[in-house]
Amino acid sequence: MKCRKVRDNLSAYADGELRLRLRRRVETHLAACENCATELSRLVEITDAAKTSLRRVFSDKAPRSNFRERVMQATEPVRVRRPILVTAGKLAAAAVTIALASGLVVGGVQELRFRGERAAFRQKDAEQRRALVLATADSKRASAQLRKAEARLSKVETQLRLATAIRKKDDRLVEEGPSRRPRSWPPMLSSLQMPGADSLLKNGLF
């Protein structure tokens, strides 16, 4: 660390205001540099002189005894006194004002009541709308399920018709004799791709 940088930090070092790492670097330099060490001792001397001087000068300095009272008085809120309305004209004006104000009050109360009713109505309306939306959603869901079930039923009916046709054809073949029977038996059940076809075959329904 160079002397110039050390000297820039000497005051802070003397005040104990340097971070540990920088302080150690300064201390290392001071141990090796007599000039900087002398500079430090001069700074410490002037600092102590300033402290002692200021403390001696100001040790007995205090504000006057009623300082606090004066401050609190200065922070009191200012009260403005307003003149009272005494003349007849002013009283009349006051009466008119009061009458208007009372009318406004009645009107205001009624307005408040209507506002309350309107709010209640809006809330009820909103609840009904919400219930309707939910019901509509349920209905749509149910319709979709119904359509899906109908499609499934239609497919099963088609397959059933096909299976019936095959069975009738087989019955005919049985009646005509074994020579007319095809090599693979049953010939077309595998092509049905019908759910439960295996169980139907096992139970002898075909």
Binding site: Y13, L54, S59, A62, F67, M72
Partner: protein
């Protein structure tokens, strides 16, 4: 900030005038001393102190407690001092020769012998005159550091500047003081009051302890 001080500040923020009055009595001496050190005369110091507390009363709702209450007061004091300086429109010679001599003479402590007393009074006088001659920003940092023992961070908060600025101002102020005093022959530091020895504070304190560290 102690618990009782925090409680008083909290109450004062809530509008309790009695609590604020307690805060005034807690800090009036410190604020007055600082104002005296800055302005150099009793009347201006009183006016400045009073204005500081009145401003503080009006602004206490905005005090967030990030710094100590005294640091916050000091910031208000410095703002008021700057306004006062602008109003005066002149370089503040804090204390004239007569005033300085009077202050030094009034404040000399009890010493064992008359010749030592006279010598110390003279030195206190010279050092104080030199401090008074500093540019006001340097004088402020010297007063805050040497009279109030404020850390660099507290000074930075009070002056609304960086810690680096405080560091350079304090260093410059000390170099200026030394220069001024060296110009007068026979400078010797006034005898200490036993609060600290001549070793630097950096070597007295435990590493990292006391005050705010800085780069």
């Amino acid at each position: 900030m102690g618990d009782s001080e925090k409680r008083l500040v909290w109450l004062a923020r809530a509008g309790d005038r009695e609590a604020f009055s307690e805060l005034v009595s807690l800090f009036e001496s410190k604020v007055y001393r600082a104002a005296y050190a800055l302005t150099g005369n009793e009347q201006d110091a009183e006016d400045l102190s009073q204005k500081t507390f009145v401003s503080a009363y009006g602004a206490i709702g905005r005090f967030r407690g990030k710094s100590s209450f005294f640091t916050w007061l000091y910031r208000i004091l410095l703002n008021n001092f700057n306004t006062w300086l602008r109003k005066k429109r002149r370089a503040v010679e804090v204390v004239g020769d007569d005033g300085c001599s009077r202050l030094a003479a009034d404040s000399a402590g009890s010493s064992p012998s008359h010749w030592q007393l006279a010598s110390e009074r003279e030195t206190v006088d010279r050092v104080y005159k030199a401090i008074s001659s500093l540019p006001h920003e340097q004088r402020m940092v010297i007063v805050m550091r040497c009279l109030e023992d404020m850390t660099y961070r507290e000074i930075a908060e009070a002056m609304s500047c960086s810690i680096g600025t405080v560091k350079s101002r304090i260093h410059a102020a000390r170099l200026s003081l030394r220069q001024m005093l060296l110009q007068e022959s026979g400078f010797h530091a006034p005898a200490d009051e036993g609060e600290h020895d001549k070793r630097p504070e950096g070597t007295q304190r435990a590493p990292g302890g006391g005050g705010t560290s800085m780069q």
